[in-house]
C-alpha cells in the first residue's frame, strides 16, 4: 500500500474492525471512495475469494482500483483486508473517472504472511481474556435464570397437583 493511501486511509477514520457486521470502506474526504456504512453479515458470502455487492452510491476513481484496504472489515467475518475490483454497474464498467451509481463489487482477498509483533500477540490474548471474563459473568447470570425457572416450575407442579380440578 502506498504511503499516500495509508495516510489518507488514516485520515478517513476508518471504523475499527471489531465492529461486527459493519464496514466503512472510506469517506468522501479521503478522495478515494465514498460510502455509507455497509452491513455485511458474517456468513460464507464474506469469505475470501467471494465477491460481495455493496449497495449505495459510489464514486471510485481508477487509481483506487486494485488497492488493498486494511482494517476496515469485520473480524466476525474472518476478513482482514479487501481489494476493490472493477465491477459492471448498469452495463458500465466502474473505475473510470466518471462516477457510478449502483453496486460495486468488493473482492475480499486473503491475508497472507501477516506478521504480529510480540506486543500485538500479548494484546490479543489480553483482550480475549477480558472478553471471556465478561461473557463468563453473563453466562452465569443466564444459568441462574435457568435455575430460577426450574424452581418456579417445581412450585407450579406441586401446586397444580394439590388443586382439585
Amino acid at each position: 500500500m502506498s504511503k499516500k493511501l495509508k495516510k489518507s486511509s488514516k485520515k478517513a477514520q476508518l471504523r475499527d474492525s471489531a465492529e461486527a457486521s459493519k464496514v466503512l470502506v472510506g469517506t468522501k474526504a479521503d478522495g478515494l471512495i465514498f460510502s455509507e456504512s455497509v452491513g455485511i453479515t458474517a456468513s460464507s458470502t464474506t469469505l475470501p475469494g467471494r465477491v460481495m455487492d455493496l449497495p449505495g452510491s459510489w464514486w471510485i476513481p481508477g487509481k483506487a482500483m486494485g488497492r488493498v484496504l486494511v482494517g476496515t472489515f469485520p473480524t466476525a467475518a474472518g476478513v482482514r483486508s479487501g481489494e476493490i475490483k472493477p465491477t459492471l454497474v448498469g452495463g458500465r464498467r466502474l473505475g473510470s473517472s466518471s462516477p457510478g451509481v449502483g453496486v460495486v463489487g468488493l473482492q475480499i482477498t486473503a491475508v497472507s504472511g501477516s506478521r504480529y509483533s510480540a506486543r500485538e500477540l500479548d494484546k490479543l490474548y489480553t483482550s480475549d481474556v477480558l472478553e471471556d471474563r465478561g461473557s463468563g459473568r453473563n453466562f452465569l447470570r443466564l444459568q441462574l435464570v435457568a435455575v430460577a425457572v426450574t424452581i418456579a416450575f417445581v412450585m407450579l407442579l406441586v401446586v397444580a397437583n394439590k388443586v382439585n380440578w
Binding site: A42, S43, G49, T75, V154, L157
Partner: protein
C-alpha cells in the same frame, strides 16, 4: 397374585423402574454443575501462547467444502507463519485435486497437499498418513485435527492454543456448532442437540475434570501429548476422537473444552445420513468401552476419584440407555399386569422427576447458547417428541390418567361421549418408548425414499431423542453380531457458513 405381595420381586421391579429414570436424573445432576463452569475455567492457567500448528484435514470427496474451510484457516487472527495446513486427500474421485491446485497457488507454502492413491480406509487411516509426514519433521509444535467442512472463526485457534501454555494440558477443543446454511428442520434439531451435548454438557465435564470426547472436528493436541499417545490414531475403533481424548487423560494430561469460541460444521441434512453417523458414533463408544475396560471406575491423576466415578456413571448411563429403557419398560408393563395402581404411582413419580429434569436441562442448554436458542426454539421442547411430552406432562400433573391423553383420544375418536379405556391408555403410556423407536426408523426409511413431510411429522410426534436411542439400539445390534466396521462417510454439500 399380587406382585406387591412378593417383597423381593416388588423391590426389584421398583429398583429397575427407578433405574429407568436414572439417565435423566444423572443428566440433571450433571447440568447443575453448569453455573460453576465459569469458576472452574482453565483461563487462570492459560497464557499468550502461539505455537507452530500443523492443521490436518482428512478429505474424501470434499471438493465442495475444502476451499471455504482452508480459506477460513488462512484468515485466522494468528501469526500466519505459524499455521500450516496439511490436506490429506484420501484418493478422492471428485475434483478435489483441482481445487487444491488453485489453493496451493493462492496460499503458497502455507498449504501442503498430500494425496493417497489407495483410500477408503476411513478417517483414522487418512489422518495417520498426514501425521507420519508431520511428525517426521521438527516444525510442528501442536497438531490440530479438523474435518474438511469445518469453518474456523478468526479468534478460535488462539483461544485454543492459550491453554497449551499449561504443560499439564494435552488437548483442547471448542464448541462445534451446526452451521448449515439451509433452514432444514433436521438441522435445527441437530443444532439444539449440540447446544445440549457441547455448549452445556462439555462445560460441565470441565467442572468434573474429565472429558468423554473432544470432537474430531476441532481437536488440538500439543506435540508432546500426541507423541505420547502413540503419534497416530487408533484404527481399531470407529471413534478416533474419543480414543485420543480418553487416552490423553489416561496418560495424565488434562483435556480442556473451550466453550467461549466455536467453529461451524455442516451436519447431516437427511435422516438416513444422520442415522448412519449416530450408529457409527454409538458403535465407536461401545468399542471404546472395551478398549479402556481397565480404566472405568478407577482412579485417575487428572481429577478426583468421586468426580471420576460420577463421570463413569454418566458414561455408562448413556451407553446402556437402550437396555435401561427396555428393562424399565418391561418392569413397568409387568407391574401393570400384577399391580396396576403401584405401576401407575411409579410412573407418576418418575414422570414428575423426569419433567423437572427436562425443564432444567432444556432451559440451561438454551441459555448456554442463545444464538441456537433463537434458531431452534420450536424444536427444543419437542426433542422428546410430542406424545412423550403429553404423557409425561399429564402423568406429572394429574392424579388420574392424563388429561391431555384423555382429550386427545376423545378428539381422535370424534365423539365427545367417548370414554377412553384408562387402563389401556396406561399401557400405551408405559410402552410408548418401545413404539416410538420403530416409528423413527420408519421416518428414516421414508426419508431415504424422498417422501416429503411425513418423516418430519413422525419425528415431531415420536421425538428426535427416540431416533438417537433407536440408532444406539442398532449400533448395539451390529456390534453383537459383529457387523463390518465400515466407515460410512457423512455426505457434505459445502453449504456451511459462519453464523449458520
Amino acid at each position: 397374585m399380587q406382585l406387591w405381595s412378593i417383597p423381593y420381586l416388588a423391590l426389584l421391579s421398583v429398583g429397575l423402574i427407578s433405574m429407568g429414570a436414572s439417565p435423566g436424573f444423572l443428566a440433571f445432576l450433571q447440568f447443575t454443575l453448569l453455573p460453576f463452569s465459569g469458576g472452574s475455567s482453565h483461563l487462570k492457567k492459560s497464557a499468550a501462547y502461539y505455537p507452530r500448528v500443523a492443521v490436518v484435514i482428512p478429505a474424501w470427496d470434499e471438493a465442495d467444502c475444502i476451499k471455504a474451510s482452508i480459506t477460513a484457516l488462512m484468515q485466522l487472527e494468528y501469526p500466519a507463519e505459524r499455521v500450516r495446513v496439511y490436506l490429506v486427500d484420501d484418493a478422492s474421485k471428485d475434483h478435489t485435486p483441482e481445487v487444491m491446485e488453485e489453493l496451493l497457488c493462492e496460499f503458497g507454502g502455507r498449504v501442503v497437499y498430500l494425496r493417497r492413491e489407495q483410500g477408503g480406509e476411513g478417517k483414522a487411516a487418512a489422518l495417520n498418513y498426514g501425521f507420519a509426514k508431520i511428525l517426521s519433521e521438527e516444525w510442528a509444535q501442536a497438531l490440530l485435527i479438523m474435518d474438511a467442512d469445518v469453518l474456523f472463526m478468526p479468534q478460535t485457534l488462539r483461544k485454543m492454543t492459550r491453554h497449551l501454555a499449561d504443560p499439564e494440558v494435552g488437548a483442547v477443543s471448542c464448541y462445534i456448532k451446526e452451521g448449515s446454511a439451509s433452514n432444514h428442520w433436521l438441522s435445527k434439531y441437530v443444532a439444539f442437540e449440540y447446544a445440549i451435548a457441547q455448549a452445556a454438557a462439555r462445560r460441565t465435564f470441565n467442572v468434573i475434570g474429565f472429558q468423554p470426547c473432544l470432537a474430531g472436528g476441532a481437536q488440538l493436541h500439543s506435540r508432546e501429548n500426541f507423541e505420547a499417545i502413540g503419534g497416530r490414531i487408533d484404527t481399531s475403533t470407529l471413534a478416533e476422537d474419543t480414543f485420543t481424548t480418553i487416552k490423553t487423560q489416561q496418560l495424565g494430561r488434562k483435556v480442556i473444552f473451550e466453550g467461549s469460541t466455536q467453529v461451524w460444521a455442516e451436519e447431516p441434512a437427511s435422516l438416513g445420513s444422520l442415522w448412519r453417523q449416530r450408529v457409527r458414533w454409538a458403535r465407536g463408544n461401545i468399542q471404546i468401552t472395551g478398549v479402556f475396560a481397565k480404566s472405568w471406575f478407577r482412579r485417575t491423576t487428572v481429577t478426583s476419584f468421586p468426580r471420576k466415578i460420577f463421570y463413569d456413571l454418566i458414561w455408562f448411563s448413556l451407553l446402556l440407555m437402550p437396555f435401561i429403557a427396555a428393562v424399565a419398560t418391561a418392569c413397568l408393563v409387568l407391574l401393570y399386569f400384577f399391580n396396576s395402581p403401584q405401576a401407575w404411582q411409579l410412573m407418576r413419580y418418575s414422570s414428575f422427576i423426569g419433567l423437572v429434569c427436562w425443564v432444567y436441562i432444556l432451559t440451561a442448554s438454551l441459555l448456554a447458547d442463545v444464538q441456537t436458542a433463537k434458531r431452534s426454539w420450536p424444536q427444543a421442547p419437542m426433542f422428546p417428541g410430542l406424545i412423550s411430552l403429553m404423557i409425561i406432562v399429564s402423568c406429572a400433573f394429574r392424579p388420574e390418567v392424563g388429561w391431555a391423553v384423555h382429550h386427545a383420544a376423545r378428539w381422535v375418536s370424534g365423539s365427545s361421549n367417548w370414554v377412553p379405556p384408562a387402563q389401556r391408555l396406561m399401557l400405551f403410556a408405559y410402552l410408548w418408548i418401545a413404539i416410538a423407536m420403530p416409528l423413527t426408523w420408519l421416518a428414516k426409511y421414508l426419508d431415504d425414499r424422498k417422501v416429503k413431510y411425513l418423516p418430519h411429522i413422525i419425528i415431531f410426534f415420536a421425538g428426535y431423542g427416540a431416533l438417537v436411542l433407536a440408532a444406539s439400539c442398532s449400533a448395539w445390534w451390529r456390534e453383537v453380531r459383529g457387523a463390518e466396521r465400515s466407515w460410512d462417510k457423512t455426505v457434505k454439500s459445502g453449504s456451511v457458513g459462519v453464523g449458520g
